[in-house]
């Protein structure tokens, strides 16, 4: 009963923060937009070329944008002391962390998913590809946040957080990147994306099972 109350409170608070501070979802989208608009300047504006790189650029952009949101998970709370409320709670920390990531995934995931097909137009991608890309991003954001939560938890009390987060997290996101972008690529090539989507779903389930536990252990290590 009080577990439900506690997870509910964690989830609700994350949502309240998301509603209260527009910058929490606006900044990642603006960042995403800027990353996506930089590449054509470097590559050239022919739509055939853009079509080739578009999927990759958009997916990597979404990946980086969700990585930028990682400090919000624990660092902010560690600074104002409210992380201790979560750590001291009798409820299992992994479940509380999961509630938190779920809320963040819904908020950030929705924002990035909506933005993705719009940005796909920059790259002259057909509508069906843009749609598949949005679906891929929607599946990938929770996975990335779950993996990233481990690093974010470890780095709560360490020096050089932001860059180190990137060094730790990005290599682990490669499978998600491969299959996330791969699904859209299949559609672009007129093939079925089912296998890639299934694997992405499998990664999400695996991350759901393991990452909150690892993140809880990490948080205990770094705040002890």
């Amino acid at each position: 009963m009080s577990l439900r109350a506690a997870t509910g409170a964690v989830f609700r608070r994350e949502m309240q923060l998301f509603a209260r501070r527009k910058s929490d979802w606006a900044n990642p989208i603006v960042f995403f937009l800027i990353v996506c608009s930089l590449f054509p300047f470097a590559v050239g504006s022919e739509s055939e070329k853009l079509k080739l790189i578009g999927i990759g650029v958009i997916f990597v952009g979404a990946l980086l944008a969700s990585m930028l949101s990682l400090p919000r998970l624990f660092e902010e709370d560690a600074r104002d002391g409210s992380l201790e409320l979560m750590l001291a709670s009798s409820e299992p920390l992994a479940v509380l962390i999961l509630a938190r990531i779920t809320a963040l995934s819904l908020g950030l995931g929705a924002a990035l998913t909506v933005a993705t097909p719009v940005f796909a137009l920059f790259y002259a991608l057909p509508f069906d590809v843009a749609g598949m890309l949005a679906l891929s991003v929607a599946l990938a954001v929770p996975t990335l946040l779950l993996i990233g939560a481990i690093a974010a938890a470890l780095l709560v009390s360490a020096r050089g957080g932001a860059i180190l987060t990137a060094v730790l997290v990005l290599p682990l996101t490669i499978p998600t990147l491969i299959f996330g972008a791969g699904a859209a690529l299949r559609v672009l090539n007129g093939q079925s994306p089912v296998a890639e989507l299934a694997l992405q779903g499998a990664f999400l389930l695996l991350a759901l099972a393991l990452c909150p536990l690892a993140a809880a252990a990490a948080l205990k290590i770094s705040t002890d």
Partner: protein, 254 residues
Amino acid sequence: MARTEQQSNDKFAGRWFWRYAAPAAFYPLAGKIEKIGWVLAVVLAAIGLYMGFFVAPTDATQGEVYRVIFIHVPAAWMTMVIYLAMAFWAGTGLVLGTRLSFMMSHALAPTGAIMAVVALWTGSLWGRPTWGTYWVWDARITSTLILFFLYVGYMALSAAFDDKKKGDRASALIALVGAINVPIIYFSVKWWTTLHQGSSVRPGSSSMATTMLWAMLIMTFAFWAYCVAAAMHRLRTQIIEREAGAAWLDGATK
């Protein structure tokens, strides 16, 4: 921690593992292993290189450039083996709380990273004349590159904590997370390469002459011996750093 370790030592008194889990007990043993390692590394490398350059014949398809594999393949194997060993000791440290296990992980990481660099460098120099390009996004090469990133992340993380104990446990956790991810990454990249470029370029799997195989095997053992010796040396340095103030060290380092 010191106290609980002492307790566990009492509890498991007589079992060799716990006896050597104490840094003071392992320090002289590590010294012996290190010496044997250096000697074996030099002797085996001399034999292996002699066989590799003077006994093994020229490869029919690749010519002389194949002689790079006598160091490339052992380095690639070692970087993988060392990562597994590192993750194993990290896990042992997290579960049992033994200081020596964390030190073992830290001692292995730099050598593992160096092996990854050597494997990538020699691989690309071998690839240029063989495949016509310095770099191929092949599953094995890409995984080695990612393994290198994981080593770097592990080392950077353990250095990012002022509290060594926290650094130990935090980096141990990331080593384990990496170990779970390495096979996933490997198979993902493998899937991805078949999707993108088919099987046009693949590392050669032509049959090797037995002398070539022997030379490679002996070089592999030489690499093993070298890595063990280097890790033991680093381990002893860490014991000196971390056990500063312990009486037994005075005699041991003079």
